[in-house]
């Protein structure tokens, strides 16, 4: 049977604007001056960005989110999607155009995983074959083999798998906007970390506009292009990119909420590719030893980094162990510093260096070829407020550099 291929993500991402939005569950109390659940919230989420609403429990994050798909109606103010007030839309139609993921997932226990993923396509009246094809495509996208999972029931899945199905389900009709309420809150830390990474990988590909709620500041910093820190009573305290929230908290509340270790947290925001790498003395296996040895004495760093013929690092050789004659053999090299790539965060890089008890990490490209080395001092320099994030130095460009 020829399968109808679903169209690829051709729709653009939406722009979401909150304009002076307030919500009070008890209007009488509000009139007496008691704080509402959300208080005069104004912010704009640009198209294709992840905006994380973060704050302590009860600060109005869920309420703010549910007003977008009208599961909750605001007491005052308006919410615009691409300039159109959501209040003017038919609520069920609006919801079918917005992906929705919640912490408890809420898969339909009586339907197979395939049917669960195809819920919105079915509501939209897609032909059955197209629903099926789309469900399979999405299961693959979230890393679940359709042949294995399609016909199972939700009770037969682990928490992490269920959460993936929840994300697949929300993506089914290719919505330009996704609302996610603590989607990774109910899984254990290891699975959460993995789901977060997969989520970022997916978003790099799909570029949806995403409103993401969490009470976990680390998750907010890791996932958000923009972070909105909220305070109990539904006040927006700060709305900025994560680096700015960490470097310049707008209030004492924000500073407290991001924690005393915000300097360290900034490490997880910067990637190796964004800092200046140092060159290092290198030589290839089989090169003349005497010449290489001489070069190490011209450099303050007393080691030679030995490379294989394809410029892939093998290990360090202490200058004192380099013979004066003959050629360099691979057996001279001692175990390596950790291997980093441009996408490793400084936090992970530092952690790997501490684990290996070394001062330097070796940075390689996708093919494993040497790009340069990253030192502990370079990491410290990157955290200084004046650090120039664009100053990517030309790394060692191979043997004989």
């Amino acid at each position: 049977m020829p399968q109808q291929m679903p169209e690829q993500a051709a729709r653009r991402a939406a722009i979401v604007q909150y304009e002076h939005v307030s919500k009070s569950y008890a209007t009488a109390k509000l009139r007496r001056g008691a704080p509402g659940a959300v208080n005069d919230l104004s912010l704009t989420v640009p198209a294709g960005k992840i905006c994380v609403l973060v704050g302590p429990s009860g600060c109005g994050k869920t309420t703010s989110l549910k007003m977008v798909n009208r599961l909750i109606e605001p007491t005052s103010g308006r919410i615009l999607i691409d300039g159109a007030d959501v209040a003017d839309r038919d609520a069920t139609e609006l919801r079918r155009e917005i992906g929705y993921v919640i912490q408890q997932v809420g898969l339909f226990p009586h339907q197979t995983i395939g049917a669960n993923v195809a819920v919105v396509p079915r509501l939209l009246g897609w032909p059955a074959a197209r629903q099926r094809a789309r469900a399979e495509e999405l299961l693959s996208l979230v890393g679940l083999d359709p042949a294995l999972y399609r016909d199972r029931y939700p009770a037969q899945l682990s928490g992490g798998e269920r959460q993936r199905v929840g994300v697949a389900r929300a993506l089914a009709a290719d919505p330009p906007l996704m609302l996610m309420d603590e989607p990774f809150g109910a899984v254990d830390p290891i699975v959460r970390e993995r789901l977060q990474n997969e989520f970022l990988r997916l978003q790099a590909e799909l570029a949806k506009t995403i409103l993401f709620v969490t009470h976990d500041i680390d998750e907010a910093i890791k996932l958000g292009d923009l972070v909105a820190v909220m305070q109990v009573g539904g006040h927006l305290e700060q709305f900025a990119p994560p680096a700015e929230i960490l470097a310049a908290p707008a209030s004492e509340f924000v500073a407290d909420f991001v924690g005393a270790d915000r300097g360290l947290k900034r490490l997880s925001l910067t990637r190796v590719g964004e800092v200046a790498l140092q060159p290092v003395v290198t030589a290839r296996v089989g090169d003349p030893a005497g010449e290489a040895r001489a070069r190490t004495f011209e450099d303050p760093f007393p080691y030679l980094l030995l490379l294989d013929p394809s410029d892939r690092p093998i290990g360090w050789v202490n200058q004192r162990h380099i013979p004066g004659t003959g050629t360099l053999a691979a057996s001279l090299a001692t175990p390596m510093s950790p291997l980093l790539d441009r996408r490793t965060t400084l936090k992970d890089a530092l952690s790997m260096m501490l684990d290996a008890d070394v001062q330097t990490g070796i940075v390689v490209d996708r093919a494993g070829r040497l790009r340069g080395v990253l030192t502990v001092e370079a990491i410290a320099a990157a955290l200084r407020p004046s650090a120039d994030p664009d100053g990517i130095a030309a790394g060692a460009s191979g043997a004989g550099a």
């Binding site: 809420g106 009586h110 009770a155």
Partner: protein, 220 residues
């Protein structure tokens, strides 16, 4: 002790009464279910109506059946309506409560997800809430059917034309405890009740495969 000759001579009558028994019970449960379904949906939609609906069904259940027959005969005569009204009324309390409990048992997050994805009220009811209520609805039908099969026996007190297998029990009693005839009514009706029970257990497994599906391997 058992008069085999009598049994052999009455096989046709036993078959006829068994069929009648099934018919009277099935009709009562079917009508009772239709009424209960509507009442339960109304109660689930308008929560304030549930306590009075449930209380009324409970009161109807407590009316002694013989008294009800007596009252009905003066209105509906010796008709099948008189036989069915008590059967139907007695199913209501079980069925309404089970259907409502089934709808109430749908997890809040499932409802929230259903709403959030854009189901209308009607779509949510038919595609999500009712399918998830099926195990409790079937459990209610099972109870109602078994108890109705027992109750049919007494409809024979209205007229010889009703009563299903209960006819033999009453008739045997009237003949001065003619045990063979009484057993001819009692045993098949017990078998009918057991058979119906088994049927519903099977049916429930069939229509709710998801309720039996439990953990395969749990990998993330």
């Amino acid at each position: 002790m058992i008069d085999w000759g009598w049994l052999a001579g009455h096989l046709d009558a036993i078959a006829y009464r068994t069929a009648q028994h099934v018919y009277l019970a099935a009709l009562g449960v079917a009508i009772g279910f239709a009424i209960s379904f509507v009442l339960a949906l109304v109660a689930a939609r308008h929560r304030a109506l549930y306590p009075p609906i449930s209380a009324l069904a409970g009161i109807l259940y407590t009316i002694p059946s013989l008294a009800l027959f007596a009252a009905l005969i003066s209105i509906t005569g010796f008709s099948v309506v008189t036989a069915e009204v008590p059967l139907v009324l007695y199913t209501l309390v079980i069925l309404v409560r089970n259907i409502v409990a089934g709808l109430d048992g749908v997890p809040a997050e499932v409802l929230e997800a259903a709403d959030g994805m854009g189901h209308t009220r009607r779509q949510r009811l038919w595609r999500v809430e009712l399918p998830l209520a099926v195990p409790l609805i079937v459990a209610g039908l099972r109870l109602a059917t078994v108890s109705t099969i027992g109750l049919v026996t007494i409809t024979g007190t209205i007229s010889d034309a009703f009563g299903g297998l209960g006819y033999f029990i009453l008739d045997g009693y009237n003949r001065g405890n003619f045990l063979t005839e009484m057993y001819a009514g009692a045993f098949p009706s017990i078998l009918l009740a057991l058979g119906a029970d088994l049927l519903f257990v099977r049916a429930q497994r069939r229509v709710t495969p998801w309720a039996n599906a439990r953990t395969v391997e749990a990998t993330s």
